[in-house]
Amino acid sequence: MSAADLVTSAPARRGPGHSRTTRIVIYGLLLLFALVYLVPLLVMVMTSLKPLDEVTGGNMFALPRHLTFAPWSVAWGEARIGVSDTRGISGYFFNSVKMVVPAVLISTLLGALNGYVLTKWSFPGHKLVFGMMLFACFIPFQSVIIPMAVILGMLGRVGVDLADLTGWSFGLGNATVNLVIVHVIYGLGFTTLFFRNYYAAFPSELIKAAMIDGASFFQIFRRILLPNSTPIIIVTVIYQFTNIWNDFLFGSTFAAGDTAPMTVALNNLVNTSTGVVEYNVNMAAAIIAAAPTLLVYVIAGRYFVRGLMAGAVKG
């Protein structure tokens, strides 16, 4: 490798021309900010490991003197959530799991197919279709929430009638099914965007060659595009998983009581106005609510960042 190659292949970083003091200032600032970003999480973890009197009577930065995991088991299995009789957030946690898994899989698959059509089988007006789907990513959900509530109410009544007739409601009126529908629809814009941008760079010659060989629409998708889509599938799954798991507005509007997802249960637990505020239990519940997305972020953080940047910077 020549010297010129070394210069051009190096990432565009500033030269080493900083004085010692400047470097101390730079590292100092970076570490200070790292501390600021970490402190809330550390305080959450420490608070969740303390008995309540240590939380209310002590310093929040102090390490737990009597380490206890009781708040975690209370949060998981015993704490009273809002006005509901259900104990603990475990049920709500699984509500979220049951909602997020199908919603992510369906919206990702549809996004992949849409991206494939929009880039490799484009038709007149495909730009307008894509533009309209793109704008759908950015609408404020407040402007669709009333009609959605009306429609879901109607579907629920149809479900009751179906259940009377056939003994099975086909999932209509079930809060989890409702939320899956809502998240799939309002996630379509983003999943389509991700796959479209990814497939736009995929060589069309390969597709053409396969077409001449007589491969069908779905054969090309399954045999050529999908096997080459792993990075973008990971990005989309992570993005959708985070968005849907973290949603609160739809969850609190379309799922009530015991059918609510995790974020709604956490909010109800934390904002209960009766009795003593059990900060340690609240923090344990908050960490449990954050655990899946944090885990995904830790395991696949690099893809997560790359995906968000691709989605946001490219528009």
Partner: protein
């Protein structure tokens, strides 16, 4: 498949209007169709429905009784009702405060951290995820953490008293006048790392040769950034601004979780205003009108952006 068979397949297609050929031609459109139809109905149709509701006298349930611009005129009047302030007035003022602070500090901190990280830093791989992890958390979790952190009885104020700084006073989270600033602090903590990632991606894309040339010409680091680097990455500012503005207008759960269900409406934003008027105050028509105003605001930002983005892809 042999060449002869491929040629046969081609002629079959040319032969034309067989049912199979028609199906093959329309298949891509049939695949994209359902998604587009869903978006058309559930995004565009529903927005029109909400627009229609905003011209009716809907209370707890939607009605078709049209009353013209009455709801918008009420919002308009409320915009200037300052003594005592109407909820809409509070929502608009808070939107300006929260949106302004949130966007400014996210951009400022994001750029600062990105530039600092870009100085050939050791341990970048550890620091970057630390700045970014809050993004994986839901606003409900972020709000829960910051509510505890800012609570004067057990949080920061108490901790500093414990360490001997007795005169330290910080009770914004329970002071109606200051609550919105707490929402802004939590929001900035949550999103600034994301902006950092966007800027860092932009900085890494700047051609190293230009910077070398500037250095040879004797430009200081500050001058290089001020005059060369920042102007080059201006599109990133624009993207970040769009994403942040859109998040600020939509944010709803952060207010509820930081303030504990927005007591007295002190931290009202258009999003919380819309929700409470629609679902708890039985003023669905007013709620719809406010949702339409939110939609218009976002459209005014997004439509030119999407237009310019799709045009760029043309080139």
């Amino acid at each position: 498949m042999t060449e002869r068979e491929a040629a046969a397949a081609m002629t079959r297609r040319k032969l034309g209007p067989s049912l199979r050929g028609w199906f093959q031609d329309w298949l891509p459109r049939l695949v994209l169709g359902p998604s587009f139809l869903l978006v058309l109905i559930f995004v565009y149709g529903f927005n029109l429905w909400t627009l229609f509701l905003s011209f009716t006298s809907s209370k707890a349930f939607p009605t078709t009784n049209l009353i013209g611009f009455t709801n918008y005129m009420r919002l308009w009047d409320w915009t200037f009702e300052t003594d005592p302030p109407s909820n809409w007035y509070t929502a608009l003022v808070n939107m300006g405060l929260f949106g302004g602070l949130y966007i400014f500090f996210c951009l400022f901190l994001g750029l600062l951290l990105a530039i600092l990280l870009d100085q050939k830093i050791r341990g970048e791989g550890i620091l970057r995820p630390i700045y970014l992890y809050p993004l994986a958390l839901s606003f409900i979790v972020t709000g829960t953490a910051w509510k505890l952190f800012l609570d004067p009885r057990i949080g920061l104020e108490n901790a500093l008293h414990d360490w001997g700084w007795k005169s330290f006073h910080f009770d914004w989270v329970v002071d109606p006048k200051m609550m919105i600033y707490c929402v802004a602090i939590a929001g900035i903590w949550q999103s600034s790392g994301f902006v950092m990632a966007m800027f860092l991606a932009g900085l890494r894309g700047v051609d190293g040769e230009i910077l070398k040339a500037a250095q040879i010409d004797g430009a200081s680091t500050y001058q290089t950034y001020r005059r060369i680097v920042i102007p080059i990455i201006r599109p990133v500012f624009f993207s970040a601004l769009i994403v942040l503005a859109h998040m600020a207008i939509k944010s709803y759960d952060l207010v509820l979780s930081v303030t504990g269900k927005n007591p007295g409406g002190a931290a009202e934003l258009p999003s919380t205003f819309m929700y409470s008027y629609t679902f708890t105050r039985n003023q669905m028509a007013i709620g719809s009108a406010s949702a339409v105003i939110m939609l218009m605001t976002i459209a005014a930002i997004m439509v030119p952006y999407i237009y310019s983005e799709t045009r760029e892809q043309n080139r």
